[in-house]
């Protein structure tokens, strides 16, 4: 839903939303794709997740979630990986709008 709204608004709103940091892996909706823009590495657990390939520039898709929306399953370079909500928040993403 959000994606559709954003699609019809122009790009400035999207840029603003990104700058405000409102887009993280946790806010990505099912079926949405994004590119990791920055990682908050203050948490040592997040550093371990980077070793699994969740780094800046990686393209990632929210494919599914367990009941209650936590943990979330992502697709990262063809492989499934699941993260808890609490950890997903550390990854800022810029959404890839379908078709663009």
């Amino acid at each position: 839903m959000r994606i559709i709204i954003i699609y019809f608004l122009n790009g400035t709103w999207l840029k603003k939303a990104m700058e405000m940091g409102s887009y993280t892996l946790a806010t990505l909706k099912r079926g949405e794709k994004g590119i990791i823009k920055s990682v908050d590495t203050s948490d040592p657990q997040v550093q371990r997740l980077m070793v699994l390939g969740l780094v800046e520039g990686a393209e990632i898709e929210h494919t599914n979630s367990a009941i209650g929306g936590d943990p979330i399953e992502f697709r990262l370079f063809g492989s499934g990986i699941s993260l808890r909500q609490e950890h997903a928040r550390y990854f800022q993403v810029s959404p890839i709008v379908a078709g663009g």
């Binding site: 590495t41 657990q45 997040v46 371990r48 520039g57 399953e73 699941s82």
Partner: protein
């Protein structure tokens, strides 16, 4: 345990041109098909041991190719050379040659999953930079093809500095001979060419090497820069000298400028991986096979969870029900063999030792095998299928609310059948604290051995009142199951808040696509489980069984048997037929009861009676409870002997005898509060030598089994005390 190669080569093998001339480590990401490949390469010629001081298994096998023999070591999976779990650390230590008791491998087989080059190439870069002889075994090529992934192997090899890549299909065996050839010729292969995708790190590492001198290799220096001097690499870092250490700190500050080193490394290396992937891998639209369709279906939140409950119900049913006929058969066979040997040897101490001690002891070990084998067949199949990670993912939120993680679900459910396989199944939990919390909670689950005791006591003493459409007896049984669950959860929570306090592990599970399980791997792993149980836990269980036999057998009284024989002789004169048989049985049962009363066990029952008096137990109940500590299921047989109805008495006879049992003043022993207390005691108490032996085996210390025993017994005692005192008072 580290130098089997030299010891094992027998003199006749020296004439062979080359014996075991190289040790090669098999290293790769978790779930990269490493174990399947290892089994394919070594076949039956493998041994399973433990790394010194830890519970991580060491799999070693021999690869024979033409006239060479290569020793292969299957390492635990790892994502990086900066370890974060015990398993990863072992893998890294072996590869770097700093594992106590193992020498540095002569070469590496790097296992690369073709469907997951992204993570695979991250580790591979680090491995290539070690400058060791190496061959890459690329697995899952069939799955990659179906997923629309096309890999340019020559380009990939070139990107990795020319290292040899052997694509294999481990399930069908395609490409295996080329791989075998490559492994066998590793000693003649030169070291890999460094990629040095991170020039800053390499330059700093060179500086460090110049100061440290010969002892520090370049790759080690690089790892030291990334990891710093930690608890884990201390042995490796000592002897560097203060000058080198000072330089290390300066260089680390220079490269990382305050940022976390492993995240910087991840960023640099994955940037390289992404660039490389673009030139060596082509992604075509994936083929929509049954795998992706099933995967998509079971990933839906609701459907997936329902599916998980179905799977667990089947597993539970299998462990609970399918194992029962086999267990009954083992039980009956043990009894028959024991009895016939007992008859053949006559009535003496040796015969009793063999029949009631040794054979019953062996029986009490192998009786666990059906449940263990069935449970592990399912677990291994589900793991190979790629479902286990998914189950953990689906249950994570629920299990987290009780202080555990998703991976605890299978061990917990299995423990309802038997805690022994349940505790063995905790291996799937990577985090040590979660794992031990699960092990501590598992024995509270109502196992199948508690059921007969529950059934006997409930049938005898709980009135079958109807409450609405429910039956009070059924309600009590249900209550006992719930009681076990609640106690287990409270224990896990308590442990995670106290002794096992610590950060929650990052829950990042790789969720593989479904793949067809490899039956050979399943078989080998199943065999390994059974072997470990028999060897490590079996010896303890057997010893305890023999000790308990001795306690119940000694000291012999010289008067009991002759007295009983005299009575039988008198009975023979006055009675015939069935009446005689019944009388003889009665006399024998009474003699057995008298013997037990004055055995060490009976005396122990009397000695501890004051302790259990506040619980409303007399010496008979106390003796039966003590006898039940090695294995709670024997309590019925002991009660049968103590109450002189024979150790194979049916439930009705025994329960009527229990009902009429009374204190010297004539008041009944088995009152409702006392029975409720006894049930609570059974629900809590860790009366199972097998469980203790398995906890010892799985935690690799006696501390945890001792703690579990004391903890559970204390709770059981005070629970029973509370029930009796409140109920009676």
């Amino acid at each position: 345990m580290a130098k089997p190669a030299e010891i094992r080569v027998s003199p006749d093998k020296i004439t062979v041109r080359r014996g075991i001339q190289a040790t090669v480590a098999v290293v790769g990401n978790p779930n990269s098909g490493k174990s399947t490949l290892f089994n394919r390469l070594t076949g039956l010629k493998q041994r399973i041991g433990n790394y010194p001081g830890v519970t991580v298994e060491r799999h070693v096998g021999i690869l024979r190719w033409k006239d060479t023999q290569t020793e292969l070591v299957d390492l635990p999976g790892t994502h990086s050379l900066s370890p974060h779990s015990l398993e990863e650390q072992i893998a890294v230590d072996v590869v770097l040659g700093r594992m106590e008791g193992s020498r540095r491998p002569d070469g590496l087989v790097a296992v690369l999953d073709a469907t997951n080059l992204y993570q695979g190439l991250f580790l591979l870069q680090q491995l290539v930079d070690l400058e060791m002889p190496m061959v890459v075994a690329m697995t899952m090529n069939d799955a990659a093809m179906q997923g629309g992934i096309k890999i340019d192997i020559e380009a990939l090899s070139a990107a990795l500095g020319g290292v040899r890549i052997c694509p294999v299909v481990a399930t069908s065996g395609a490409g295996m001979d080329a791989l075998r050839e490559a492994i066998a010729s590793l000693p003649e292969t030169g070291p890999t060419q460094r990629l040095s995708v991170w020039p800053e790190l390499t330059r700093a590492a060179e500086k460090l090497c110049n100061i440290a001198g010969e002892s520090l290799r370049l790759a080690e220096s690089e790892r030291l820069l990334v990891d710093g001097i930690t608890e884990r690499n201390q042995s490796f870092a000592t002897g560097l000298g203060s000058e080198t250490e000072a330089l290390l700190h300066v260089l680390r500050e220079e490269i990382f400028s305050g940022k976390p080193p492993i995240s910087v490394e991840a960023q640099v290396r994955y940037d390289w991986v992404r660039k490389t992937l673009a030139s060596v891998q082509q992604s075509l639209p994936p083929f929509q096979g049954w795998r992706s369709r099933i995967t998509r279906f079971v990933n839906q939140p609701v459907a997936g969870t329902i599916g998980l409950f179905l799977v667990m119900a089947i597993v539970f049913q299998a462990v609970f029900a399918w194992a029962t006929p086999v267990m009954d058969f083992i039980d009956a066979t043990t009894a028959t063999v024991g009895a016939s040997i007992g008859d053949a040897l006559g009535e003496n101490a040796f015969s009793s030792l063999i029949a009631d001690g040794v054979i019953a002891g062996v029986g009490s070990v192998i009786i666990f095998l059906p449940q263990i084998l069935i449970l592990f067949l399912f677990i291994i199949l589900l793991e190979d299928l790629g479902y286990l990670a998914r189950a953990a993912y689906l249950m994570d939120r629920t299990m987290r609310s009780v202080g555990l993680s998703g991976q605890s679900i299978i061990p917990m459910i299995s423990s309802f059948a038997c805690a022994v396989p349940g505790i063995m199944a905790t291996r799937v939990i990577p985090n040590r604290r979660d794992r031990i919390a699960t092990i501590m909670a598992a024995p509270f689950m109502t196992c199948s051995a508690r059921l007969p005791v529950y059934a006997l006591l409930i049938a005898a003493f709980v009135p079958p009142h109807r409450i609405g459409f429910l039956n009070l007896q059924g309600l009590v049984l249900f209550g006992l199951y719930m009681f076990g669950i609640v106690m287990g959860i409270l224990t896990a929570l308590l442990m995670r808040k106290t002794a096992l306090r610590g950060p929650k592990p990052p829950f990042a599970l790789m969720l593989p696509e479904f793949r067809r399980p490899n039956l050979q791997t399943v078989f080998f792993q199943l065999l390994g489980r059974a072997r470990i149980f028999l060897r490590r836990a079996g010896t303890v269980i057997f010893t305890v069984a023999v000790v308990v036999w001795a306690l119940a057998y000694y000291p012999r009284s010289d008067d009991i048997r002759p007295a009983a024989d005299k009575q039988i002789a008198i009975a023979t004169e006055t009675l015939t037929g069935e009446a005689l048989d019944g009388e003889i049985r009665k006399i024998n049962n009474l003699a057995a009861a008298t013997q037990l009363e004055q055995s060490w066990l009976g005396r122990a029952g009397k000695v501890v009676e004051p302790v259990f008096r506040p619980l409303g137990w007399d010496w008979r109940v106390s003796a039966a409870v003590i006898a039940g500590f090695p294995a709670r299921e024997v309590v019925i047989a002991v009660l049968g002997t103590v109450y002189a109805v024979g150790d194979d008495a049916d439930e009705a006879t025994l329960s009527s005898r229990l009902k009429s049992s009374s204190w010297p003043d004539g008041s009944p022993v088995f009152t409702l509060p006392m029975v409720i207390g006894l049930l609570i005691f059974y629900a809590c108490c860790l009366q199972c030598a097998a469980t203790l032996a398995v906890i010892r085996r799985e935690t690799n210390t006696w501390r945890w089994p001792v703690f579990a025993w004391v903890y559970m017994t204390t709770i059981g005692y005070f629970g029973a005390l509370l029930a009796f005192q409140v109920g009676t008072g």
